[in-house]
Structure formats: C-alpha cells, structure tokens
Symmetry: C2
Subunit: 229 residues, 2 copies
C-alpha cells in the first residue's frame, strides 16, 4: 500500500505525513509540495527539510501560472495586503463568502494534481490535512466535510475506482490535530505556517493566531516561535 | 455571465466552444488549452487557431510535469506505443480497467485547473466536451455521467457555491455532438483529434476511427481528412 501526502510544511500536513509514515513506512510515502505563486516560499523550504527528516520521497510542483489572474491576498499576483487579524474578525465582513486568503479552488486543484501523480506512481490513497477550524464560517469552503465527500467521489470514480482521498482531520479542530501529532513526536519546530515571509512568524496573521491558540490548548507554546526567535 | 471552456482543439471541445460563443458572446468566453506532455502538440496549434477564428480569449497551460512519472501511451514519458485499433478491441483485453490512452485523472485535473482560472476571472460556468462514447466500457472513467456529477459537486461546494460545471454532451454520442456542431457551422476542418503527430490524421488510432464513424453517421466524410490530405 502506497500513499501520497499533500504537504505544505505546516502543522496540519506535517501531522498527516507523520500518520502515513507511521502506518505505511517511509518507503511507501510520497510527499508532494506545490508552489502556487504565494508571496513567500518559506513553507516550501521547510517542507523539503521535513520530508528529508522523515526520509520520504519528495516532489515539488509549480502551479503559479494557474493563479496569475487571481486577486487573492496571499499571492504575488495581488496588490491586496494579507490581513493581520483573526478569521473571526475577517468573517464578520465577508457576508458568508470566503476570506481574502482563500486561493481559488486551491485544495481541489492540489487534490486533482495529487490524484494524477498518485495514479502514475501506484499509490492508492491521497492524504491531506483539512480540518474543521479552516472550514468554519465558510472561510475556506474547500476544507469542508461536504467538499471532501464530493472530491473523494470524483477522484474515486474518475480514477476507475483506483484511488481514495483520506482526510483524517476533517472532523477535528487544529488543537486536536496537534494533540495527535504530539503523540507521534512530530517535529513542529521545523514547520512554517505564517502568511508573511519574515525571518520569524509575525504572530499577527490569522494562521499565526490559530496555530498559537491550538498549541496553547495543548498546554504548550508554539515550538516554531521559540525555535526561530 | 462569463464561461470558461476546456478546449483541446478536437471535435467535442470545439463544438462546446461554439455553443458558449452562441450563448454568451465571444467577449464573455475564455478558451483554455492544456499541454500535458502528449507525444505531439498538433492539437494545441489547432486550438489556438480555432480560438482566433471565434475571437475568444485564449489561455494555454503546461501541466506536463504532473505526468512525468506516468506510463500512459499518449505521453512522452511512456515508451508504450499508441494502439492502432478501436476502443472496442482494446476494451476486450482491459478487464474493466481504463485503456492505455487514459491519462491519469486528466479530466479531473483539467477541470480543477479550469475552476481556479474561472474563479480568478469572474466566470460562473466551466464547459467541457465529455460524451457517452468515451465513457463506454470504462475506457475513460473521467468522462462518465457519475464522474461529472461528483466533480460538479466538488467544484460548486469548494468554490463557495460560485462556479458550476456544464457538460452539454454527457448523455450524447459523438455523432450527436457533431450533429449539434453542424447546426452551428463549426469549422471541423480546423480541428485535430488524431493521437499520432503526422501531417495528416493516421486514420488508424481509436480517436481517428471514432471521429470518422461519427461524421459518417451524419452522412459526411471527416472534413479534417479532406482538408489536410
């Protein structure tokens, strides 16, 4: 049994990677990272190092041309600033629409790319780290359980019943993801989540806030902040 | 209302393009062609010319790196020869699996790429030319009605209910697609379908045979053969 993991180098996908290595062995796991024109590439540097730490095959794709017309604030193609506030604050103004850091259909595109690569390499499962906090309030509609069910059907049917999508955290909060990862000794100090590209996490963007709160809920400080500051 | 059309330069997607131009006007249509490491690029050359004929915006992507590990016979990455026989002959030996020219999850990947680009450009619909002949016998599972329903759900939900997939030929045969196209004066002599990259269609690969039969069912010879020979 071989699995491909969608792997950004952040908290959630690193925990996913740890689960698959624990379950199938490093030799049966491929980690796939995807550049998409984000304003910095620190997370890709971290992803490569973490894949080496776990001794899994690492593949990297560049899909930036797909987003060249997008105005998403995470991307080079946009002049919008990345909001330095929580998702709750942002969602109070979106009228039920996605937040400005929603990259158009990113998870769908990444899963479809993963499907083509998984089928080309004899993998029968794709893992990814979507969790319930990211789906809340429709901030990222491509993280929801409903999306996961639909994309899993599309990939299973469209692959001739050869490939499944596994989203082990789809019903969990980020704090619960971290609890699972701590039990597997995930090296969280090596991960990167911050939307800004500074030398250390900004602590102010929504993902920095989410991650700090999730570690705090587990009774610890974010190891990446203490490691990098 | 703006639409994006997945556009290979073949019979089905050119008919799709004609339908959207007829419905929304050329200024509201984007034609998207995707290279994927196929053994020749004749269809992309044709696609560009047909997009110019219809006066629509044309975008081209290169997703070949995604298929670099694939053994699909259509691709540069494979040493397999493209079969010079009909789908029916091939399917008699596949034991219910896809044919060797099935590019792993190609339609899923192309639709997901189209979704990201459509959302970045204010389109609310994606059109593509899947039809029932290609889905028959599980030759191309990513052309089936079941796949279309699932991928439409994934794209609608994952886009925050902003984008729909339209497959106007999902219940039609290729002969019926051509009948529709003839009523819209589609310039079929400009299209290219053959899997080989010669100066004229080989007439022997499965797609050449399918296309010739579909034109014959409409009482005419394939205009591309008479135009190019």
């Amino acid at each position: 049994m071989k699995a491909l993991v969608l792997f950004s180098g952040g908290v959630d996908s690193t925990t996913c990677l740890a689960i698959t290595v624990d379950k199938y062995g490093a030799e049966n796991v491929i980690a796939l990272s995807i550049g998409y024109g984000q304003k910095h590439e620190r997370e890709l540097d971290c992803a490569k190092k973490i894949a080496a730490y776990y001794n899994v095959r690492y593949k990297q794709l560049d899909l930036a041309p797909i987003f060249e017309d997008s105005d998403c604030s995470l991307l080079n193609s946009s002049d919008q600033d990345i909001p330095l506030e929580s998702y709750a604050e942002q969602l109070s103004r979106t009228d039920g629409n996605p937040v400005s850091t929603y990259v158009p259909f990113r998870n769908g595109l990444f899963l479809a790319s993963a499907a083509s690569i998984a089928l080309s390499n004899g993998c029968t499962e794709i893992y990814y780290g979507a969790h319930s906090d990211d789906a809340a309030g429709n901030a990222y509609p491509d993280c929801s359980k409903e999306f996961n069910d639909a994309v899993n059907s599309a990939i299973f049917i469209g692959s001739g019943n050869q490939l499944k999508v596994v989203a082990p955290f789809i019903g969990l909060t980020k704090a619960q993801v971290i609890a699972k990862g701590l039990s597997l000794d995930v090296p969280y100090k090596m991960t990167w989540s911050c939307y800004s590209g500074g030398n250390e996490p900004c602590g102010l963007c929504a993902t920095c806030r989410d991650r700090a709160a999730a570690f705090a809920a587990n009774g610890i400080c974010d190891p990446a902040i203490s490691a990098k500051s």
